[in-house]
Amino acid sequence: MLCYLTTGKQMLFYGSFGIVLVLLVVTAPVALLFGFSGALAARSRITPLRWVGRGYTAMVRGVPDIIFFLFVPIAMDEGIEYMRNRIKCPDWNQPVFAGNEFHVCAAAKMPLNSAPQIYHEIYGFSLAVIAFAVVFGAFAANVLYGAMQAVPRAQLETAEAYGMTQAQVTRRVLIPQMWTYALPGLSNLWMILIKATPLLFLLGIEDIVYWARELGATKSTVYAYPHPDWRVYYFLVLLVFYLVMTKLSEIVLNRINRKLSFGQATAGGEALRKADI
């Protein structure tokens, strides 16, 4: 049994847990950045910019996110290849969308057909990260926009009375204060992000779901360790992995929430104050 659990393929399976964690670590800040710009744009005074921000935040409301997960990577991929096609092969005269095919010249393929496997994997992974960042950025923009609205008006007016410009008010008063209002929403979002990671499988990344299916499937005697269909057990492991992740984040986020509400004029802050007395 121990031998079985340390074969090369099994090691790849353990490694794919790392892929999930990397995705979480990379996506969270990028999505936060997207959301932050979206929320600021939605509050902007310039009308077209505000429309862009509002449109971005409204995007995810009525449409299942999985549609975006399927849409964004293909659209990005084709967009990049189309641009490269225009630049690298200016004399390409065939139509790009020809019936059932997508035609670009060989030099415009991204990554190049001759590139080693690892580049293909990295490229696919980056597309996945961008898709996650776009979707979760929109969710984060919703949360942050709400948090900015929740900062008491009086605080901003006081800052204006001190003669600060609009940019200064935003930077020095609005942004430092909004986090406590944003945290419940953001922690909810983090939980959702954790639970969205198995969708990587749909994007063709060799993640934990892929390996669980691969390794769990029935192995005939051709293989070194033949076994019947074990996929149920592999998925059980994944289930436990996600439950542990959720529980851990719950504990950590509760701590942060406690710290941030300290001394704030909110119900949470008030409860902390009372507990101290």
């Binding site: 009525g62 849409f71 293909i74 059932n100 998925f235 994944l238």
Partner: protein, 275 residues
């Protein structure tokens, strides 16, 4: 082929009525609209039935989580934690594999063989998973509402001599529903969104009869052009979301009809998204 002909051929393709063969090339807008629309039948089927069944299980679970007895409370808490704490995607896979492991020939029960084959089909297996999943999410919402039923209401019920079942049916339950309804609306919207996962997880589409997203992906894969099928699917889902909001809005108004205007529960959208 005219568009009406296409609708007649493919309008109910997703449930196996009409033309068997999917179009293979030269896709028209009409074909894409019709087929993706016919897939919505599945999304609505899963969503509506899971919601209806889940409503009752969720109420029971919320009550169980609210009791003092450990023996009842703990299982309910674990059920809610497991289904809310893990991705629906994994739940689908796990359920499919577990159901597929059951003996093919069926169980012999008192001399009669009980068929288990149908459980691995999406219409039963995936519906079952969605039902349990939405029950867990809704139970958490109901539990929160149950905790925030005003004390005064319960004391007033006691003063009127109501107790037990009568108190629950006339006071606690309606108030719980009223408080929970805006969040429950969100849950319903995202349950409908979650139904798109069914045919992307373990459950195979039988004879290419899939949901809206299944057909959208079919077209996107065939044409390499994601800019038409996915927005069409998105369009259908926005319609579905709007109708859910309208229906739940009516119920919300009915639940709140005894209250003065400013105390009514407002419908508010809060993203809760993937599970």
């Amino acid at each position: 082929m005219s568009c009406l002909q296409t609708i007649a051929d493919y309008g109910l393709r997703s449930v196996g009525v009409g033309e068997r063969l999917l179009p293979r090339s030269d896709f028209t807008m009409c074909q894409q609209f019709t087929l993706i629309g016919s897939g919505m039948v599945w999304n609505i089927y899963f969503g509506v039935l899971a919601l209806l069944g889940g409503f009752f299980l969720a109420t029971a679970l919320a009550l169980a989580k609210n009791t003092e007895t450990r023996l009842i409370r703990k299982p309910a808490e674990w059920f809610i934690f497991v289904f809310r704490g893990s991705p629906l995607f994994i739940q689908f896979f796990l359920a499919y594999e577990a159901l597929a492991m059951m003996p093919r020939a069926g169980f012999p029960v008192f001399g009669i063989t009980v068929e288990t084959d149908w459980l691995t089909r999406a219409w039963a297996g995936a519906l079952f998973v969605l039902f349990l999943n939405t029950s867990a999410y809704a139970a958490e919402i109901f539990y929160g509402a149950l905790r925030s039923v005003p004390k005064g209401d319960l004391e007033a019920a006691d003063a009127y001599g109501l107790s037990g079942w009568n108190k629950f049916r006339r006071v606690t339950w309606p108030t719980m529903l009223r408080l929970a309804w805006p969040s429950y609306t969100n849950e319903a919207i995202f349950l409908f969104h979650a139904t798109t996962l069914v045919f992307f997880s373990g459950f195979p589409a039988f004879r290419q009869e899939g949901d809206a997203l299944y057909y959208a992906k079919y077209f996107a894969d065939k044409t390499f052009n994601p800019f038409i099928p996915y927005p069409i699917a998105a369009f259908y889902f926005i319609l579905l979301t709007l109708s859910v909001i309208t229906i739940f809005g009516f119920i919300n108004r009915r639940l709140n009809r005894h209250l003065p205007h400013e105390r009514r529960m407002k419908m508010r959208f809060r993203p809760q998204i993937i599970r």
